[in-house]
């Protein structure tokens, strides 16, 4: 690489420390250890530090600092190009009109594609809400032909802009990576127009290596498409998807003998219009098969539903471990959770009606013996009910995040007393969460 290929203009002042040291060295005042009895004879020199030492140092530096350092001398410049330093790269693609953050410089992108594409193993793309950014990401993907990428992440930092890219453009870009990198192990493509044919290509080329697949909010994938992945990729350990892709067949495929233990399953349950989405239910036997095969599996469910849509959920025992309710959830639903979710570890309730949730919480404390984390937003619990809940759970509650206005003072406890009472049962200092009054 020619110096200055990565723009190093006006960075001279940052070299001053190196230059000063260089001068000092020339004038004999070396910072390096001299051999005892041989004053002035340097054992080492910055310029001929062993390769692996420079490499070690470079690994601590940001790309910009490495680029600066690489223009110090030829040896350092050589190290700059060592493949080890180019294993991971995050492409940031933003437009000035839609983002406050800077983009990866186009020259650098070109340089990586030309010189370091074959070194890349962990690649991610962060794009802002502009379609152009997502398209630029697809253009780069299409050029990653001589690669052995292991992890690929497509991340929309604001709006899901990959969804605005034409499906064919996106699919062909993704296919390039799927076909060329034959040892992909983790893929994070949430909020993208990935489709069944692309997944087929993924399976055809990477079925032995795939361990993680995150594809929440990918509307072009069908239950059959994801089933094909589960059927073929026996090493899959983590999977994230929307509820409409979840089926009894999928759970059974993940529980087949050939399949490794599943570790994480994340399911997003979302409806866009009240009453317009009907949710199917999953058989108890399918859940049981999954937990029998993978006894330690974490099942995470994010709910963004209207109250009336909760009907099909938790009617029977469900092995969910983490539950997040982003919208109002009914008292009745919370009651069912206490009855049917014995593996529950974390529960977050963002909102509920105006009736206190005392009974439901106490039942959860009673039945969900693994519960260690709870967060309550816009809902109500009486102070006594809350203290009772905490007393039953005790020290196992490692995360207890309760908005201050959730707790309704009653005849037994006011807000001052509740802090000390809860702290006592937890065995550590505890306060409710509070927002500034402004």
């Amino acid at each position: 690489m020619k110096r200055g290929r990565i723009s190093i203009k006006s960075k001279c002042q940052t070299f001053s420390s190196h230059e000063e040291r260089a001068k000092r060295r020339k004038s004999g005042a070396s910072g390096f250890t001299s051999i005892p009895g041989h004053p002035g004879r340097s054992l080492e020199d910055w310029g001929n530090l062993p390769h692996h030492v420079v490499l070690q140092i470079f690994q601590h530096l940001s790309l910009v600092d490495r680029a600066r350092a690489s223009s110090v001398c030829r040896r350092w410049n050589d190290v700059f190009h060592i493949p080890d330093l180019w294993r991971r790269f995050e492409f940031e693609l933003n437009q000035p009109a839609t983002s406050y953050l800077r983009s990866t410089h186009p020259d650098l992108i070109q340089q990586i594609i030309k010189k370091h594409a074959q070194h890349l193993q962990y690649v991610s793309f962060k794009v802002d809400s502009c379609t152009e950014s997502a398209e630029a990401a697809c253009d780069i993907l299409s050029q990653l032909v001589n690669c052995t990428i292991k992890t690929l992440g497509l991340i929309s930092t604001a709006r899901p802009s990959f969804m605005d890219v034409s499906q064919s453009h996106f699919a062909s870009a993704l296919t390039v990576v799927f076909v060329n990198s034959k040892s992909l192990s983790s893929i994070k493509i949430n909020d993208t127009p990935v489709d069944d044919p692309s997944l087929k290509v993924l399976v055809a080329n990477n079925s032995d290596t795939l361990k993680l697949l995150k594809m929440s909010s990918c509307p072009h994938v069908s239950p059959a498409g994801i089933l094909c992945v589960a059927d073929q990729c026996h090493g899959l350990r983590e999977l994230a998807l929307n509820y409409h892709l979840l089926s009894d067949e999928l759970l059974l495929a993940l529980s087949s003998e050939k399949h490794v233990h599943l570790e994480h399953l994340r399911i997003d349950v979302v409806s866009e219009n009240p009453g317009q989405t009907h949710f199917h239910s999953i058989k108890r036997s399918s859940w049981e098969a999954l937990v029998r095969h993978s006894p330690k599996v974490n099942i995470v469910m994010y709910f963004f539903l209207y109250e009336e849509e909760f009907e099909p959920f938790f009617r029977e025992e469900t092995p969910v471990t983490h539950l997040y309710f982003g919208r109002a959830v009914s008292k009745e639903m919370l009651g069912r959770i206490g009855l049917n979710c014995p593996r529950l570890v974390e529960l977050v309730v963002c909102a509920n009606g105006l009736e206190p949730l005392d009974e439901e919480l106490i039942r959860i404390a009673e039945r969900c013996k693994s519960l260690t984390a709870i967060g309550l937003g816009e809902c109500e619990v009486t102070c006594s009910g809350f203290v009772e809940f905490v007393k039953m759970c005790g020290g196992r509650l490692t995360q207890l995040s309760i908005m201050e206005e959730v707790l309704i003072p009653d005849s037994s406890y006011n807000m001052e007393q509740i802090h000390s009472e809860v702290s006592k049962h937890l065995g550590r200092m505890w306060f409710p969460d509070m927002m500034p009054t402004w």
Partner: protein
């Protein structure tokens, strides 16, 4: 003996009561001149909206009137202080300059320049702290040289300090003794009089009466009312959850925040009155939380005092960099009350018309603009509040916006206010909406928070068709909040390096108090054992080549020599190497080479 001629320079602290610097001005002095600088050229182009200017001018009128009762007056100087002070020092033969301490970075810089001018002119300068309860530098010193980053920590610190000084006596004829103000023409309008809004270039046509009249007299009347016969109302206003109706959302004759901002009301006086109120209602010595309202203000003043970039995301060492959207159209809809969510639009209408909104209303619109729905930078919201909100102190405004957008001060981020449900919980009948959005007045309560869900015939009989007479909702809240919580989770997980599944554990808490904010020292934050359990227990399969030793967020000096604390990519390459995990994609942020 030579004459002592004083100038008291008013900026904030527009009051005669509890004004220690003003008392310094008259102590043993022969003459006193009270000045206020107002640059008319600046007025039109400033960020303050018409309500704030009106409030300010009313404060100045009131101050002038009170001073005239003491045979003095207020001199409004239509110039910049640095340009004009040296002339006055000479012309009026000034030997003493007094003013209230301004703790905010811009004010400190301005005051340092004037102090220098005054010292060079041979004046004695007295600066007194009275806009805040405490000497903020002392709080910072007590916390090891950096401001506390959580409110709990702040409470602990101030609890260990001496209680704030009681208010000093007001300026009266008695304590002025023989000190006089040389006035040439009495009671007439002259070049030093308080200007009218029109003179500042504002169009006052159609401007309704002030819902919040400015001035010390009004402020003192309000605080007396708080302790008047209706103690229970005062108690409720100050300490209790809002009841289920619209009344707390409406401007209250007991509201004090705008008066604190301009210093028409001393925070020391308010502090003492709160204690008295507590005593009347509850008896006994009050807990520290009694003063929450005042202490939050103090907390933000402390956090901002040494941070000139406190109101920015970039280069602000305590602000998390969140990849907000730039979206001027969406921002304008929010600011102009055209979001299509009646709860949000009613609040923004009240804000624009009257200059004050309840704190729950602030939470709602701040959440909606930033983390909840629109994913627009808090800086944009802060600027709109700066223009419209009467009580928008620079520090408190920026601090609250950072807090509510989850950009700093490490709040839990799991919860976002629903722009439909949250309002309905407070005011189920929708009276508040009917008041500020008359177009929706005839909607039944059932649909007033989500009129787009009302059947057509309901819309017609309410004389308001959504999409014609009132906008359709600009976002799908469910979808937006779902996306945004996920974005927030990604950011916080990178920050805390917590890799487990628990949403709640992703927010760093307690240990962040050790964070060295302004220094350049790298700090490794310990992570509690349970988080590590999460890391190891749940992810045993991960191909981590080596586990990070004491896993924690490592801070590096940023571009400005500050600790670039929490840029969500501030990780070094090596740290990122610990994450050769197949599970997440924590990749060092490439800082760009442009």
């Amino acid at each position: 003996m030579a004459q002592t001629n004083s100038i008291h320079w008013f900026r904030k602290g527009l009051r005669l009561h509890d004004n220690p610097a003003l008392l310094e001005a008259v102590r043993g002095a022969d003459t006193l001149r009270c000045v206020y600088f107002l640059d008319p050229w600046f007025a039109g182009s400033s960020n303050l909206g018409i309500n704030s200017w009106r409030f300010l001018l009313q404060c100045l009128e009131d101050l002038d009137a009170s001073l005239r009762k003491l045979n003095s007056r207020l001199f409004i100087i239509r110039r910049q202080p640095a340009n004009i002070f040296p002339r006055f020092f000479k012309e009026w033969n000034i030997s003493r300059l007094t003013f209230e301490c301004d703790s905010e970075p811009f004010g400190k810089e301005r005051d340092a320049a004037i102090r220098k001018l005054a010292s060079e002119a041979g004046l004695e300068v007295f600066v007194r702290i009275s806009h805040t309860l405490y000497d903020l530098d002392k709080i910072i010193e007590l916390n090891g040289g950096h401001p506390p980053l959580t409110y709990k920590r702040f409470q602990t610190l101030v609890s260990s300090m001496h209680p704030p000084d009681p208010p000093v006596e007001p300026l009266t004829q008695a304590n002025m003794e023989t000190c006089i103000t040389p006035i040439t023409k009495e009671g007439q309008k002259d070049k030093y009089s308080v200007p009218l809004l029109e003179e500042l270039g504002f169009d006052t046509e159609g401007l309704g009466p002030a819902v919040w009249p400015g001035g010390e007299t009004e402020a003192l009347a309000r605080i007396e009312r708080q302790l008047g016969p209706d103690v229970s109302t005062a108690w409720q206003v100050n300490f209790e959850h809002p009841l289920l109706n619209s009344s707390p959302l409406l401007p209250s004759p007991l509201g004090l925040s705008p008066y604190l901002r301009f210093g028409c009301l001393s925070c020391h006086l308010f502090y003492r009155k709160l204690a008295e109120l507590y005593n009347k209602v509850k008896h006994g010595s009050p807990p520290i939380s009694l003063y929450d309202k005042l202490l939050w203000r103090e907390f933000f003043y402390t956090a901002a005092t040494n941070n000139p970039r406190f109101d920015k995301m970039e280069g602000n060492p305590i602000c998390i960099r969140i990849p907000w959207d730039k979206n001027p159209e969406a921002l304008a809809k929010w600011a102009e009350a055209k979001t299509g969510f009646p709860w949000i639009d009613a609040i923004m209408t009240q804000l624009r018309q009257e200059g004050w909104i309840h704190h729950l209303a602030r939470h709602a619109v701040a959440c909606f603009l930033t983390r909840g729905d629109l994913w627009i930078s808090w800086e944009e919201g802060m600027k709109v509040f700066e223009e419209l909100l009467l009580d928008a102190d620079w520090s408190v405004n920026a601090g609250s916006w950072m807090c509510h957008s989850y950009s700093s001060f490490f709040q839990q981020f799991f919860h976002c206010y629903c722009p439909v449900g949250a309002g309905r919980r407070i005011d189920p009948n929708g009276d508040y909406i009917r008041r500020y959005l008359p177009v929706l007045r005839d909607f039944p309560a059932k649909y007033i928070y989500d009129p787009w869900n009302a059947p057509e015939e309901v819309q017609h009989s309410a004389h308001c068709v959504v999409g014609q007479d009132y906008p359709k909702p600009m976002v799908n809240h469910t979808e937006a909040s779902w996306l945004n919580i996920e974005r927030m989770r990604q950011i916080y997980q990178q920050l805390s390096r917590y890799r487990g599944l628990s949403l709640l554990a992703a927010v760093p808490s307690g240990p962040f108090e050790d964070l060295n904010v302004n220094g350049c020292r790298a700090v490794v934050l310990p992570v509690t054992s349970k988080k590590q359990r999460g890391t190891n227990g749940h992810h045993g399969h991960r191909q981590t080549k080596e586990q990070a030793g004491p896993s924690g967020l490592k801070l590096r000096p940023g571009p400005n020599g500050h600790t670039s604390s929490i840029e969500h990519g501030g990780m070094t390459n090596k740290e990122a190497c610990h994450f050769e995990s197949i599970q997440e994609f924590v990749v060092p942020q490439h800082p760009g080479t442009s």
